[in-house]
Symmetry: C2
Subunit: 461 residues, 2 copies
């Protein structure tokens, strides 16, 4: 088993020498299995291993037991551990999202925060073959296409899954044979959640009545789908480029005749790609929207324009088929910032996390977060979008400049300006997202304490 | 509903004016629904409608009732009906296949036989949206990839499915509202077969616990998969042509470096396509075989050759990667022919059906079957492959010619000769597959009775 994880890491190039690898360590069998595999491999593959544990404070004594277990495990093997205590149920209410989603935001924010402390790196999570099978089945049951069937992959952005092809039974066998202890998560044995219902009821029923190897079959399905998805992406990229007339931030102009010459499936995927390029993802783009667009390509005439869902219109203008992004009006917003507490801003989909650190703890050249001189801050911190008359003293200057003029100088389209975050204290704007920090708050040789600001985007992982 | 079937036929070009359309008419709600839709449409779309019914003699009185019902329905609307009585259980034992498979062979052989009587045409079958959903689910449970998820399509070869996107509930509603009668197949209500278990147990469970619209989701999945499959096929065709060095009946030579430059998924699909080209299909080509081949591309060296399953080897020879078909030795075989009884020849995968017909019933120019003068046949008919010393008097000649010399003249590769069927009576070889009939048995102006020979291939439909 140990060999399979090692093979995955090497063959799929999941970890490079010198990498900082942070493992999400709940204390359950999967993450403990991954922990032992990684701590064994870290010498020969020359990477640094860290661990993060979130005590969700769900089950009183149990949760404390798990935290203690993880602390002792990491101590035994000399692995630096980060621990956070936070109740996901409360956090879910705060963010107005599901508990599952809140847990996910909490986890990945904490993991990335830890990694930025050690100078950046990758996150290793302990999903196994059975998790993959359950995910595939869950997506089939909800309704999906090839993208959904690809399910989870061994590597995505800063996330690796080195044991995605390892079966749960093999994990348990390995832990037993090596006398490695682990914690049992009792919530996993209750069939109340959708996912647990799939694991505890549906899969055993399918194994008994239809196919004893259903989990392997589902895993294989996701594997072939991922291969096929790559082929589709390449082909669609070719067709998209062939049809492309013009692209900017708010519209994609395609040659209508080229679209008409394509198969329905090809044209549909080119439209989907156009939306993805404008939007950054294809969340909520449904097949019916693509079908409308295909139909419009066939039957629409010049001057026609229709709304596609999710803030897009499509129109035909002579020889062109145009996908337009409807510029959304972001309303005014303003939130109080509490230190060390990720704040999800629903208007922009971003998360802000501010912490105070000693100058010695922080590598200020590290570019993933913003560092300001904490001792210059007056009063309370808030995050908001622009207001008329906003000004800042840009870093390196001594006079106030209108935020509006900064936007104009930098040619920021009017429709994007309302989405830019501003962090202010009781007196000044400290920071304007993507562009400027206030000159008085910059880190200098006399700085002792740092205000560290991390901006995250909610992802699907 | 009527409109949806009509729309399918027109938009997907399922039927052209002048077509002979033969409907498989069991008498159940689905086929009766299709029958009424087609008989209403046949005038406006100018096609000819025929029906075929097989009385499987399963359920004594029930089966006779269904046959009577279908006869009366066709009579009422002036549709010519073909009826055959044959027990599929017995036939399955005969062919040594499952009852489902035997039923399928029986049905499609009979349908094609009927069509050839009316001068050729297409077969319309009554699969609906729920059948499609069940098929998709069944394939997922068994283990599948994109090809399996495409499931059934609106048109495949000579088969059309004009109501594939119509829901069972809509069918029942339409029949009720129009007071159209139909038969109930009680075997459909028993959860004993795998397929019925999916329909009667699994789907209701999934609808209740996971997704009330699961059937629509599965249908949509098959629809998007079919679109994506077309994209993959196109891309793979391009990559295959790029890598192709040489192709003949027994081997495909590909450029090794081109394969190495491809993604795993692309290379795998190119190998799969090579096998398909050599074999005619990819039945029994599993993902593990493709994985072997991908691994071999990466690690193999010149002179190496390995067996892939199903009669194929792969080898590396300098700059080339070669897929070879292992020429199989077909053993000698010989079977007695019974009239009107399809005979499955396992050595070649073909089915032979011989019938005797009056000259007036047969269009002898119709090329899908072979017609001989029945009254010249002496003794019993057999079908076999070649033996040393076989001779025939080729049509138009008066002297005997060695079968071996015919093969040589026509440049038939040695390895294919054992697979060619020969039909003989007690004295002569009447017919050599693909090439010759005996001069004495040809149909002439004095012919009264015809021996009609139909050769079928077992398909996946």
């Amino acid at each position: 088993m140990y060999n399979l994880v090692k093979e995955n890491i090497i063959q799929k190039q999941l970890i490079k020498a010198g990498d900082n690898v942070l493992i999400g360590l709940s204390g359950g069998p999967d993450s403990v299995f991954l922990f032992h595999n990684l701590r064994k491999l870290k010498e020969s593959l020359s990477f640094n291993l860290y661990a993060s544990h979130i005590n969700h404070m769900y089950r009183g004594k149990d949760a404390q037991h798990d935290e203690d277990f993880v602390r002792s495990l990491c101590e035994d093997y000399g692995v630096k551990l980060f621990v956070k205590r936070k109740n996901a149920t409360d956090y879910a209410k705060e963010l107005k999202v599901t508990e599952e989603e809140a847990g996910r935001i909490l986890r990945y924010n904490f993991f990335r925060e830890n990694l930025s402390e050690v100078g950046g790196g990758i996150i290793a999570v302990a999903h196994n073959l059975n998790d993959q099978a359950e995910t595939v089945l869950q997506r089939i049951l909800r309704g999906t296409g090839i993208d959904g069937l690809c399910a989870m992959s061994f590597v995505k952005d800063d996330l690796i899954r080195p044991m995605l092809n390892v079966q749960r039974s093999e994990i348990e066998k390995y832990l037993r044979e090596n006398n490695f202890e682990f914690c049992i998560d009792i919530t996993n044995t209750q069939a109340i959640y959708g996912r647990n219902k799939i694991r505890l009821n549906l899969i055993p029923y399918l194994e008994e009545n239809f196919n004893p190897n259903i989990q392997n079959s589902l895993y294989r399905l996701s594997e072939t789908m991922e291969r096929d998805k790559k082929i589709i992406d390449k082909y669609v990229e070719i067709k998209f480029c062939e049809a492309l007339v013009h692209a900017d931030k708010n519209k994609i102009v395609l040659n209508l005749q080229k679209l008409k010459d394509m198969d329905e499936g090809e044209a549909g995927r080119v439209i989907r790609k156009s939306i993805e390029q404008l939007k950054g993802n294809t969340v909520n783009v449904e097949m019916k929207h693509i079908d409308y667009a295909i139909d419009f390509i066939k039957t629409g005439s010049t001057g026609k324009k229709i709304n596609l869902s999710e803030g897009f219109t499509i129109e035909i203008s002579y020889d062109n088929f145009i996908v337009n992004k409807i510029v959304e009006n972001i309303p005014e917003f303003k939130y109080a910032i509490e230190l060390d507490k990720p704040l999800f801003i629903k208007e922009t989909g971003k998360t802000v996390l501010c912490s105070v650190k000693d100058i010695s703890e922080v590598d200020i050249r590290e570019s993933q977060s913003i560092n300001l001189d904490f001792d210059h801050i007056k009063g309370n911190l808030t995050v908001r979008n622009r207001r008329t008359g906003d000004t800042i003293v840009p870093c390196g200057n001594t006079w106030n400049k209108k935020i509006k003029d900064i936007f104009i100088d930098l040619k920021i389209p009017a429709e994007e300006r309302d989405s830019k975050l501003i962090i202010a204290d009781d007196e000044n704007i400290l920071w304007l997202e993507d562009f400027r920090i206030h000159n008085s708050y910059k880190v200098s040789s006399s700085t002792k304490k740092i205000l560290n600001i991390t901006i995250g985007r909610s992802t699907n992982e």
